[in-house]
């Protein structure tokens, strides 16, 4: 499709967003990621029935934890689209990229870099 898409994110493929656990998203932030977005199937279209609903709940849990620890819950988001919507995936990636750039770097990532510089 030759769609334009930001290159500053890593795609982690999973059989279903229901496989995404809270700790997977938290680990990304712990390692310095500025944002995480989970892209699942359309609600009601999950092959495993409730995988994307589970993922949404977990994204909400992560957002609450990130708010509590001062990282900011707005750094994690969930999107839904169908597997045939490549252009929408690119659009969501661009949207997330702009959203995270507006928020600036993650304070955890900044602290990790400062620690490494000091060491």
């Amino acid at each position: 499709m030759r769609l334009k898409c930001p290159t500053n994110f890593r795609i982690i493929r999973l059989p279903c967003t229901g496989k995404v656990d809270v700790i997977h998203m938290l680990r990304a932030f712990e390692k310095g990621a500025d944002g995480v977005f989970v892209v699942g199937c359309m609600e009601g279209d999950c092959h495993f029935k409730t995988g994307n609903f589970r993922a949404r709940k977990r994204v909400e849990q992560v957002a609450a934890i990130l708010d509590t620890v001062g990282v900011g819950g707005e750094r994690v988001r969930m999107y839904n689209l169908s597997s045939g919507e490549g252009p929408l995936f690119a659009q969501y990636a661009i949207e997330m990229d702009a959203h995270i750039r507006a928020l600036g770097p993650s304070p955890v990532g900044t602290a990790l870099k400062a620690q490494m510089t000091a060491a």
């Binding site: 656990d21 001062g70 620690q115």
Partner: protein, 222 residues
């Protein structure tokens, strides 16, 4: 099982502040089932704490471990060789596990990571409800298998009281009247004649009011 709920992370952050090397210790039993203190919760809490403290420029170390049980000598012994590496243990076990840890590792500060709530059942994922208050002398045989001690707000032994309306308790319209449930089930079991029997005053000495309790079984002790 024992049902517990997570403590707010803000509260845990405050309690771990004085320590640098902390072991976050989970329990594989009841608190795993009620999703408050199992391996997953240990990972999530340790990760959240690391992220919080790294932003403060703090070099606290949070290690993770989950034991089969924290209310048994043999499993608590598994961490004896690593206990010297820590200034404190953040235990996600129920109050029993935390206290047993405190008795076993006398000089290590302990921080509870969950609020222990009650003895209950899993109604559905994410919903646990109280079923037993461990009163020490079970009356379920006479109450159609429904406990008036744990499920009646007044612990009435010959109910219902005047606060029962439409099968609900006066304390909250969402709470079933235990005695309504008992009567309904006795009727279904065709045992309504048992409802006529007046239950004598219960012996509460076996309950918590009689002080800390012990079960000593000499037949199984070696």
């Amino acid at each position: 099982m024992i049902v517990a709920d997570k403590k707010p992370i803000e509260e845990i952050i405050e309690t771990v502040k004085p320590y640098d090397r902390i072991l976050v210790l989970g329990c594989n039993e009841c608190v795993t089932v009620c999703e408050a203190g199992g391996k997953k919760e240990v990972e999530v809490l340790a990760s959240a704490l690391r992220m919080h403290f790294i932003q403060q420029g703090s070099k606290k170390n949070f290690d993770e471990r989950t034991l089969e049980r924290q209310c048994d000598h043999e499993y608590l012994e598994e961490i004896r060789d690593i206990m010297d590496n820590y200034d404190a243990v953040l235990s996600l076990a129920c109050g029993v596990g935390v206290q047993f840890m405190a008795e076993k590792y006398h000089t290590t500060p302990l921080i509870p990571g969950v609020n222990t709530c009650f003895l209950g059942a899993t109604e559905k994922r994410g919903l646990w409800t109280e079923r037993c208050q461990a009163c020490g002398s079970c009356v379920l045989a006479h109450t159609a298998g429904i406990c008036p001690i744990s499920r009646c707000a007044k612990r009435v032994m010959n109910g219902p009281c005047g606060g029962s309306t439409g099968g609900k308790c006066e304390i909250n319209k969402d709470v079933d009247c235990a005695w309504q449930l008992i009567i309904d089930r006795l009727r279904d079991l065709d045992r309504m004649d048992e409802y006529e029997i007046v239950t004598p005053i219960k012996d509460w000495s076996t309950e918590r009011a009689g002080g800390p309790r012990t079960v000593a079984r000499e037949d199984v002790q070696v």
